[in-house]
């Protein structure tokens, strides 16, 4: 236990080693390894169905994994000590639709042991102040997903795992949320944010590009662009897929008896 934690570089908020996950009898993650440095905004990008959500579930410790290790803030993922220090927002907003915005946040704050001040701050940060007394069922999809994000912000977690938090938001709100994410990172929070929209990638400090349950690339947006000599990230993706095919193609043939 001691040796495994001290072997991890202290700056990594998340460290995933050779993670394999099967869902419904079919492999969803096939040997994923990467690290998320503390205090950074890392984007997890890839087409839908590539395993982003499963990977995030494994990091917050709700996913049954087949093999591999996931270390979060120096502890195994899902450790009871992490339940206050990791905030998680799923892609479909996990809130009580029959409660108001404030009632939702008050309840989750009580569970986390966070104060009323945190509730007001979270409402403020996601811009839901004008809607704080509305029932979640009457909010628009984007507002509801901001409420779900506000729940994840409660208690100032050290790590935020956000699954597609900006889907369906207008450009101005999206910009405001990204400003919030960077503000949180500057205070020392680590953020892992998934998206399938390429133009959001440029706002991250590091990118994890995923496809078919594997990590295609783990680098800064600038480095990826330079390496592949591509103009935009869409092109980077295509380039990396082609690169992987070239590499794995002949090896696959050799591997067969």
């Amino acid at each position: 236990m001691m040796s495994s934690t001290s072997a991890d570089p202290p700056q990594a908020a998340v460290s995933v080693r050779d993670l394999h996950v099967d869902r419904g009898g079919r492999p969803v993650l096939r040997g994923v390894s990467f690290e998320v440095p503390r205090g950074s905004v890392v984007g997890l990008l890839g087409p839908s169905g590539c395993g982003k959500t499963t990977l995030m579930r494994a990091i917050v410790g709700v996913q049954i994994v087949k093999s591999g290790t996931v270390t979060v803030l120096g502890r195994p993922a899902g450790d009871p000590a992490l339940r206050r220090s990791v905030g998680y927002a799923t892609q479909t907003p996990a809130v009580y639709t029959d409660l108001t915005v404030t009632e939702n946040l008050r309840y989750f704050a009580a569970v986390l042991g966070a104060s009323h001040r945190h509730v007001h701050r979270a409402i403020e940060e996601v811009g839901l102040r004008p809607h704080r007394d509305r029932q979640a069922a009457t909010l628009s999809g984007g507002q509801r997903s901001r409420l779900s994000l506000a729940v994840a912000l409660l208690g100032e977690p050290e790590l935020l795992v956000l699954d597609e938090p900006t889907v369906g938001l207008d450009p101005l709100l999206r910009l405001e949320l990204w400003e919030l994410f960077h503000r949180l990172a500057s205070r020392g929070t680590t953020l892992l944010i998934s998206s399938h929209v390429m133009d959001e990638a440029a706002r991250c400090r590091r990118l994890l590009l995923m496809r078919d349950g594997e990590i295609l690339a783990d680098d800064t947006p600038e480095a990826l662009r330079a390496r592949t000599k591509a103009a935009d990230l869409e092109e980077v993706f295509l380039h990396l897929i082609a690169e992987r095919r070239e590499k794995s193609g002949p090896r696959e043939k050799e591997g067969r008896p």
Binding site: V62, I64, T90, T92, A94, Y96, F108
Partner: protein, 244 residues
């Protein structure tokens, strides 16, 4: 386990119900409506005194079973259960929160149906009203606990509503309401002996019949309380922090 989180959970569930007037109205109103019907179907005071009390236990149990199993299924399907499982909330905190919130609702429900039965409908149970309330609320709590447990076996709301006929109706047939248990075939009587509803009905019959606390009633209450606890603990075991 944390009392603060349990209480916060109960408060949250009650707020959800407060926003849903129609559900609350149905929970409180339906057993009363059924008792009124029952009174006029039998239309003989002696008969109603015999049939009324056991059904005062059965109606709240059935309704609380349905409400709880659907409510917890919504929690599972809506992603809020998964969210809570990533937070410092004990599984029993959640289940006790549900039991506490719906227990209070059951108290309101039983209070209303008893008030109507004892005044307007002229129900005259031999035992004390206090014991009648205690036994009826306990059987409603049994409905809550069984509903919490049963919801683990449903994936959709369609399945959840059908759990009521699957879990409760066989017990209702076997509990001695339709045919006295002693007159049943040996194997049926044996099944009815291990069914919790049998004890809820027997307890209510005892309060209706006997002026004092009896040994049978004490055993019934102990068995029902034991079943409530067992169902809650088993229900906690069905909640998983990690899922496939």
């Amino acid at each position: 386990m944390s009392p603060a989180i349990t209480l916060a959970t109960a408060r949250r569930i009650l707020s959800q119900l407060r926003h849903d007037h129609r559900t609350l109205g149905l929970i409180v109103g339906v057993p009363s409506l059924l008792m009124v019907l029952l009174r006029y179907i039998f239309d003989q005071p002696g008969m109603f005194d015999r049939v009324g009390p056991p059904l005062l236990g059965v109606f709240p149990l059935v309704i609380m079973f349905v409400v709880t199993s659907v409510a917890t299924l919504r929690e599972r399907a809506g992603g809020t259960l998964e969210r809570l499982m990533t937070m410092p909330l004990g599984k029993l905190d959640l289940l006790l929160g549900y039991a506490l919130a719906f227990g209070l609702v059951a108290l309101l429900q039983v209070g209303v149906v008893l008030a109507i039965s004892l005044t307007w409908l002229g129900l005259e149970p031999a035992g004390s009203v206090g014991l009648l309330v205690a036994a009826a609320v306990l059987s409603a709590l049994l409905g809550v606990a069984l509903g919490l447990l049963a919801s683990a076996f449903a994936r959709t709301e369609f399945q959840a509503v059908q759990l009521m006929p699957a879990f409760v109706l066989p017990q209702a047939l076997l509990c001695g309401l339709f045919v006295p248990r002693e007159q049943m075939a040996g194997w049926l009587e044996a099944i009815s002996t291990v069914m919790p509803l049998t004890y809820a009905v027997e307890a209510m019959q005892e309060v209706g019949r006997e002026p004092e606390m009896t040994g049978t009633l004490a055993v019934d209450i102990a068995v029902i309380a034991g079943c409530v606890l067992a169902a809650l603990v088993l229900g906690a075991a069905t909640l998983r922090r990690r899922t496939p």
